[in-house]
Symmetry: D2
Subunit: 455 residues, 4 copies
Amino acid sequence: MCGIFGVYGHPGASELAYLGLYSLQHRGQESAGIVTSNGRKLCSRKGMGLISDVFTNQSLNKLKGYAAIGHVRYSTTGSSLLKNAQPFLANYPEGEIAIAHNGNLTNSKELRDSLQDRGSIFQTTTDSEVIIHLMACTSKKSLKDRLIDALLQIKGAYSLLLITEKEIVAARDPNGFRPLCLGKLDNSFVVASESCAFDIVQAEYIREIEPGEILIINEKGLTSLRPFPKVQRSLCIFEFIYFARPDSKIFGKSVYLTRKRLGEKLYGESPVKSDLIIPIPDSGNYAALGFAQKSKINFELGIIRNHYIGRTFIQPKQEIRDLDVKIKLNPVKELLKGKRITVVEDSIVRGTTSRLRMQSLRQSGAKRIDMRVSCPPHRFPCFYGIDFSTRGELIASSHSIEETRKFIGLDSLSYLSLEGMLDAMPLPRENFCVACFNGKYPIPIHQKISKYSLE
Amino acid sequence: MCGIFGVYGHPGASELAYLGLYSLQHRGQESAGIVTSNGRKLCSRKGMGLISDVFTNQSLNKLKGYAAIGHVRYSTTGSSLLKNAQPFLANYPEGEIAIAHNGNLTNSKELRDSLQDRGSIFQTTTDSEVIIHLMACTSKKSLKDRLIDALLQIKGAYSLLLITEKEIVAARDPNGFRPLCLGKLDNSFVVASESCAFDIVQAEYIREIEPGEILIINEKGLTSLRPFPKVQRSLCIFEFIYFARPDSKIFGKSVYLTRKRLGEKLYGESPVKSDLIIPIPDSGNYAALGFAQKSKINFELGIIRNHYIGRTFIQPKQEIRDLDVKIKLNPVKELLKGKRITVVEDSIVRGTTSRLRMQSLRQSGAKRIDMRVSCPPHRFPCFYGIDFSTRGELIASSHSIEETRKFIGLDSLSYLSLEGMLDAMPLPRENFCVACFNGKYPIPIHQKISKYSLE
Amino acid sequence: MCGIFGVYGHPGASELAYLGLYSLQHRGQESAGIVTSNGRKLCSRKGMGLISDVFTNQSLNKLKGYAAIGHVRYSTTGSSLLKNAQPFLANYPEGEIAIAHNGNLTNSKELRDSLQDRGSIFQTTTDSEVIIHLMACTSKKSLKDRLIDALLQIKGAYSLLLITEKEIVAARDPNGFRPLCLGKLDNSFVVASESCAFDIVQAEYIREIEPGEILIINEKGLTSLRPFPKVQRSLCIFEFIYFARPDSKIFGKSVYLTRKRLGEKLYGESPVKSDLIIPIPDSGNYAALGFAQKSKINFELGIIRNHYIGRTFIQPKQEIRDLDVKIKLNPVKELLKGKRITVVEDSIVRGTTSRLRMQSLRQSGAKRIDMRVSCPPHRFPCFYGIDFSTRGELIASSHSIEETRKFIGLDSLSYLSLEGMLDAMPLPRENFCVACFNGKYPIPIHQKISKYSLE
Amino acid sequence: MCGIFGVYGHPGASELAYLGLYSLQHRGQESAGIVTSNGRKLCSRKGMGLISDVFTNQSLNKLKGYAAIGHVRYSTTGSSLLKNAQPFLANYPEGEIAIAHNGNLTNSKELRDSLQDRGSIFQTTTDSEVIIHLMACTSKKSLKDRLIDALLQIKGAYSLLLITEKEIVAARDPNGFRPLCLGKLDNSFVVASESCAFDIVQAEYIREIEPGEILIINEKGLTSLRPFPKVQRSLCIFEFIYFARPDSKIFGKSVYLTRKRLGEKLYGESPVKSDLIIPIPDSGNYAALGFAQKSKINFELGIIRNHYIGRTFIQPKQEIRDLDVKIKLNPVKELLKGKRITVVEDSIVRGTTSRLRMQSLRQSGAKRIDMRVSCPPHRFPCFYGIDFSTRGELIASSHSIEETRKFIGLDSLSYLSLEGMLDAMPLPRENFCVACFNGKYPIPIHQKISKYSLE
């Protein structure tokens, strides 16, 4: 996954981009970058790590200009290398251009092959570079026409930001897989993956960038284009379940309230008798609150998160069992001892981390552990930008729920149903992509990938 | 404040110290250090910043040995300089020795002056160096006798760890201001400020180091000395209210359950009618849970904490109002809009941060805001190791509660009473130091300090 | 200027490249880089600064493989940025390829423009990227044919090294402006700008890469191609005078002995009566030795060079006159006092540094100062790779010799004649480019550059 | 060895200290440090490495004040650790004080032991700390009396600089082993190990600090004290032969001219027939010039020094024979081939490096190699500050000259005689310590050291 942020028309553009990316850091921690324009040329800085690692006061000051786009990256395509950090900047026939991309193209390999055949050379393995090449070698001339021409050739999920000397451009694929919204700050415009990035810079939320919309922002203001035939929306439902920040609005709706409704639905479908309800912090907190309020059972923060987790934790040579889990989360023994506990999780991917956490709860003296999960079992990979594969093999694709329960070591395990999940959503059910749950992919997947990943 | 950790008899001593300090990081983020002994000499590494900043795999590997003591520091005495980082290591007549200290001596200035008069030279401005000098210039010979001789001269709060080539020593002042507990890991012993440090290394909690106890740990096992006349205990009550981690046991009791009881008492004393109860995360979470459960009003996590706060956040030149508060905590607008909210705080020191947070809640649309605080107003400085002064001037020492309510911008404000707070404690009330609330200092304060700080 | 080094067929290829570049460091200190091939893919590392700044043991170990090319850069085209560091690596239709380039193309702007028009995007402002683009978009297929096709389109000075998964290729422009030679180390081949790079790795000098030669080195051994029509050689005479290391052979001949002959000729043309001869160290040392031996006057090292000049010398705020000159060179007062001194310089570019140095000699007590320069006055810019412009405006293009003498503050000043210089060379005079002295450019210069730079 | 520099009365004191130490860098490259006084308190910065590594513009700006002392260190006592970097700063009864020391005390162990017995604790293993302790625990009161009291207790070699809030003090041991001189810059005074440090800051050389002199520099000007009984001078002759910079005056005399005279004497004692004379650069340059001028044989710079030697040269895993030697010095093959060569060296310590260099000359084609050394064989360790032991075992203490000749691989080998060396000196022979040549130590050495080091 990735987070993107753009601003046009503000003297502190690079600083706003820094702050916006700071609040989008949960969408990617591998690399970060900002490109600004001062009206005559682009300035770029990128690096590996968190936004606060990559930028110093000094380096931020060098990024002069009234416009900026920025990117935080959690690798989905391309390997983990500095050269793959975004935004991707290049000289093309019309001058300098840079691009920041959230999502995953499904036909990038074919496009790369045909571009190389005509003599294009590649510096990175990112989708972003493919898009710039397509914009460079079209017969079209204007930025707008070049971009449309390029976007008509690409397939898959993309929420994009482009910057040139004179403008920034936001674009979202016709299905609208990934979120992207528009805000206003005094006389400048801001664009971000999630609305929490507006809060930090004191900007006002205006509206979503619509699926299939291209929005050009320059000194003339906003110009909206919709060059694509209309298709059924396929908003990523997992953004609501897990990925987005709870204090964000995405696709125009509150993440917090949606997660609470997931928890309420979950209790309705799979009630339980327990002494207390605890979340796996922090992602399970909100469904757990909904679950607890519906059930009238006490909500407790029975697992404490260490807030000083550094990026460079040293793995000791003296083996300490399950240290990775322990270092982050520690149960409150005195609270849990002798109790029947219901644990609310947002999702189970590989199951191994859940297993370790439950062992830790048992060692703390929990008498009975029931788990409730606020979405259905994940059985299919995502080809539109969420890299479940980095989280390991999907346990639900090879194990029944009963087998999963035994593996994790639970007294009971229930998932929210597909119906229940869709009912809890704040938008009509047909708007969502639920391919990771039911395998129905809204955009057909290139044969090789599906063979490799699905079978 | 500071956190200390020691281990004796384990081949991975430096790694255990690293992990223990990792989980005590909340007790001090200014500097960190570890000293190990391999039986023949001591090895030391110290640095500014978090434990994960100071140590790399390489630097940790160089700290060989079966025994270690470590320290994380939040400056209370001495200024913020590398030379003041602990443990403090020196050559003294019996060989090498290092010391790590949590607490604050009340007669260190007098002791420094008289040591300098006799020709001692000083490298740091810490209490730790004073103690080593006292141990160096006594007529006593053994480590034990030198230490007792030194401790009989110092006054104030101290939980100490010492290391020499052959042993580690733990000591706690007769009043027992600061916590210190003993654990066991296989055949080795561990000592830590809080029990959460045992959980991470899989050690078993055994007991508290008692007030006035000196515990020598070497190849013969444990030797406990109690050279001091018995005095009334003065355990720091603020460790329970705010400072310690909720998943720790301190002074032998659960922090989490104590904080919940503070919240319950608080609702009993100052009930309220609200649509929802929200904590200031994370320190207010547990009192808020107690408060909410007692009140039957819904608990909500209405303010979201950014988990990617780096240490090097860049302050933008473009002024953004209250950015420091915003970058850490963001309200969930859709939840709060039009609601009557009760906010539970653990304590109010200067009041300015609370004020900014309440403004932020109002901007999010809260209709009414009542605040409940889980301790009495802080009106007096602490001379035993908690540096309220670094958190600014105490608002309650100059403002009435009504004035504070107006300053912060609340519809109502209530504090827990001194009685209520002591009732909520898991130990008899006479065990606690509550000087910061009532000005009754269990150890007399040197004139100059009290004049300077109290009036 | 730049230095390049390549090796094929050695298990420690990256280490040999590191050492070779280490001894070519005088040819460029701005950036350094190495690309290796392990037979399946290329590995790259580049950075700003000296080779010893850019590479650590760890980073060198990651550069696996049996073949390597490397580059040290002193910017001539393109600005001083990491992205312009070489070798330049890209994916092109046949796989991965990297290039390292010493020299300067004279038609690179036209080539860039036409490449951009057909849709190529650019990452850098270097000639190297232009060459790779030309290789990518030809209709030819094999590496050999692609390279020939590209080289037939480029004009100017180039000594090149290419690396792909399977081979390295060395090439030199038909005029042969820049040196490039071939060596042998056990069963592997090495290529370097100067022979001093062979000495350090214990390789044996074999021969020059000939002007107009393309040499492919792979598992089949050496394949030499000569696809260009033969033209008159234009070896850069300034390599002999100043640029190359005195312990190198270039163009097949000894630099040391050539410089001594320049000094001998110089005394023959412009004899002098002095108490002692001193060089401006170290570049003037060898001509000064020749001058002194011919004259029978004592040679003295009257100006001492500081060997601990760091790269990060701090300029004090307290102004100290001519500190840059002083920090590097200090006269030996006791030697110079009251003496008539002849100073031998290799060349005068801007004249300002010479002026400061002569003031410093006067302050040391020199009674009379005569200067002899071992080449004619520099009056024309170089478009083939030597950036006189970075050394400032050429004093000889606007001042007569008498005016220059006065400006520098000398009692007499003589330059070696063009004839004398060519006579001192170890190769027939028609082999050399002397455009910087007489303005006769062997390859016509693009109008805009010449307009801008020449008048 | 070490270099020291002090300044009093200049607004850019830290910058002058930086520059002065820059030019004294040859006296120690292990660590560097500066302490300044702004009249109220001292500021310190120290670090490992070269002066240009330790100080940035930012760190230098933080060293405010009108007075400064600085130190560059090549470890002689104490191991190579940051804590041993100088100046050593401490709080003592009269306030803050810092000390920088060049030399070696011969009774420091006894003094440490007795200081520890009275209760002093030690932070470092340096002589400097011993001196500060002695100043702290005397019954005397003023700085002057405390210093005299301390100096009367120490034995051995020391050139010292002290700084307090109000003054700097320079002192030199009664024998005067190490150099120290006084200069003037406008209205401020400067003190340095060698006069080359005055040249860089444009200061004027005034005179030597005399053996046994204490010079206090404060707002009243200079106060000179001579509290010691007069003893025979023992100036270190090796400073003239090897250690000092050739452009310095030490002990009031020119190093350059002295080295030339050593070379002239050497030819007089041991003439040779050769085609050319070459020095081992750069330390052998000056004796070689004297030798060559006397002999009328051509002087040639036949071995070229690489000027880009970084501190972090990576040792390749592929073994390359004698790389350490090769990387620094490379013979000029074309010059040496078939020639009879006389190599002039300043000294031979272990012999192994000379051996490698001579092999390298043979490989370059030298027909015959004669070596002449500009001092007698080194047969005894130095206890006054020159750490021959770091340069390895002294070959002359176990091998005859003939054995040494064979070991190094020479056609002939001659050393300058003790008489010849003393004759070449610019001061009467009884002024010099020549213990490293004849074992006659002017200050008796403590039994243990001599046993350990001499037998």
